[in-house]
Amino acid sequence: MDFAITQTINGVVFGMLLFLLAAGLTIILGTMKIVNLAHGSYYLLGGYIGYTVAQRTHSFILACLAGATMGILGMIAYKTVLSKKFARDELAQVLLTFGMLMIISDVCRWVWGGSPLAIPKPDLLAGTIYLGAIVFPLYRLAVIIIGLLILAFVWWFQEKTKYGAIVRAGVDDEEMSQGVGINISLVKTLIFSMGALLAGFAGVIGGPFVGLSTGLDMDILLLAIIVVIIGGMGSLKGALVGALLIGLIDSFGKSLLPELSIFTLFFAMVIVLAIKPGGLFGAK
């Protein structure tokens, strides 16, 4: 029983982290129709920059802010490359973003070396907490809370604010919203930038328990993509459900079937696709 509870909490924590990544990815992929293979790179680079800032300043908050600067990188990537005419075709996007992935990956290995690093937990959250008979790290519970806060914010922004309405209108019917005077190019730049910001932030948040290492950019991208496939492209609700599902399957799979842990994720994806080819909350 204790085992089940521990694994469940671990799964939810990891799911929250995946949600931060998948939320941006699903919107960028589903509504902006951009294949962004560099999304995991924002996570890794954000985490590494956060690591250095945490080393220098001993402040976890500053590290999180540093990770969030990936929003600026995302903005540059979108403005200078992905919004251009040559990037309209999906194959072109694959090449462009995979090129970015390779460059960022090599830069990370160059600057931070090949051996795995971990960001130290903030002192305030370094302890453990007793949940009945189970000892649980405080930090991981904090990640759940942060995830829920961001979820609430994104939902509120999308559904309740004027700007959220503009974003929804912009992605629903680009020409029409341009016609009523919405600066669609600005809206798209901001969405892309927000996605990158959340990914970089997730890299720092995940730093203390997932760690940072070469190849993590692709591993985490793969998980985020599976989340988006399961949830359905463009659906935030789908990203949340998919992220929690994958978080839980990953957590239980790794402890119960270590040799086949990746296969359990694949199996989940196949079952969803067999029942709903467009994903759980997909448009189709």
Partner: protein, 324 residues
């Protein structure tokens, strides 16, 4: 009439040149050319899917790697030595079978969604190969694959030149077969699906089945390339199944020219050459290659093959003009 002789003349000339080349160039380049042929087969197999059927894939390494592993496991663990016929057939069949199973699930999806699903699927296979130590050697890979024994034909495949001709043979046969596929009525049906699936459906074609068959055929040729790579390296590693490999073969197709069949073979040659040259100069070859990928999109979005084609045609038009 003129056109047929010319269309046969160029391939024949190329075969002769490529046949003589290992006698002229140093062994190192013979080895490099051999690798180019293998990846050329791989890239052309993806073009059947990408260029002729219009199905985007970022997981083609799944079939390449599966075939390489099946041939490798048979070679190392089952026969304890080379068994060309069995290994080749098993590898190709395994690749086709993987596609047949996967295709049942994924081919209802299209576009970007399909691209992502295929990418995830191939990375799953990578994950299995990476972890499965007892059978596939885990992350260390599977070493000790022996090249086939063709001594009865007076061929020693341990020799770079002999091995070159061995791979060259499969390259020519594979290319010819793929050419026949895309030129057949089946190939034209695929082109029709690429242009407008709904129209082909209205004409009474079972478009799902056509795509399914194209998927399997494409995977089988990728499998052929995979088996040859296992012999080339003498070793199979999870990298063969990785997204990096899928992306690399995709760039070969795009660089060469999507939907031109021979273009991707040129693309394969260029990418392998660049990788080889750059990795000799700097350990940060990933940065250079990443930049090359990005530059390709901007500079040659329609591919090298069409670039050459338009240059040749432009020239012949000028010649015609001067003749007049």
């Amino acid at each position: 009439m003129m056109k047929t002789t010319r269309s046969l003349g160029i391939p024949a000339l190329l075969i002769i040149i490529l046949g003589i080349l290992p006698l002229i160039v140093p062994p190192y380049y013979t080895g490099l050319l051999t690798l180019m042929f293998i990846y050329a087969l791989f890239a052309m197999s993806l073009d059947i899917l990408q260029g002729y059927t219009g199905l985007a894939s970022l997981g083609h390494a799944a079939f390449f790697g599966t075939a390489a592993y099946v041939a490798g496991i048979l070679n190392v663990k089952v026969f304890h030595g080379p068994h060309l016929g069995t290994e080749l057939v098993s590898g190709v069949v395994a690749a086709a079978l993987t596609a047949a199973i996967l295709g049942l699930i994924v081919l209802r999806s299209t576009g970007v969604y399909l691209l992502m699903i295929l990418m995830a699927s191939s990375m799953m296979l990578w994950g299995i190969a990476f972890k499965w130590r007892s059978l596939a050697g885990g992350d260390d890979g599977l070493p000790g694959i022996l090249r086939p024994d063709l001594v009865f034909m007076h061929v020693d495949l341990k020799q770079t030149t002999d091995f070159y001709y061995f791979i060259f043979f499969f390259f020519v046969v594979g290319t010819a077969l793929m050419y026949l596929v895309v030129r057949s009525s089946f190939g034209h049906t695929l082109l029709g699906i690429r242009e407008s699936e709904s129209r082909m459906k209205a004409l009474g074609y079972n478009t799902w089945l056509q795509k399914y068959i194209a998927f399997i055929v494409s995977a089988a040729f990728a499998g052929l390339a995979g088996v040859l790579l296992a012999y080339y390296n003498g070793f199979v590693s999870p990298a063969e199944l990785h997204l990096v490999n899928s992306a690399e073969v995709l760039i070969m197709v795009i660089l060469g020219g999507v939907g031109t069949l021979f273009g991707p073979a040129i693309g394969a040659g260029i990418i392998i050459l660049i990788k080889n040259i750059v990795s000799g100069y700097t350990e940060h070859w990933m940065i250079i290659l990443g930049a090359v990928y990005m530059a390709t999109v901007v500079a040659a979005p329609r591919g090298v093959y069409r670039l050459i084609e338009s240059l040749v045609k432009g020239k012949s038009q000028e010649e015609e003009k001067s003749n007049q």
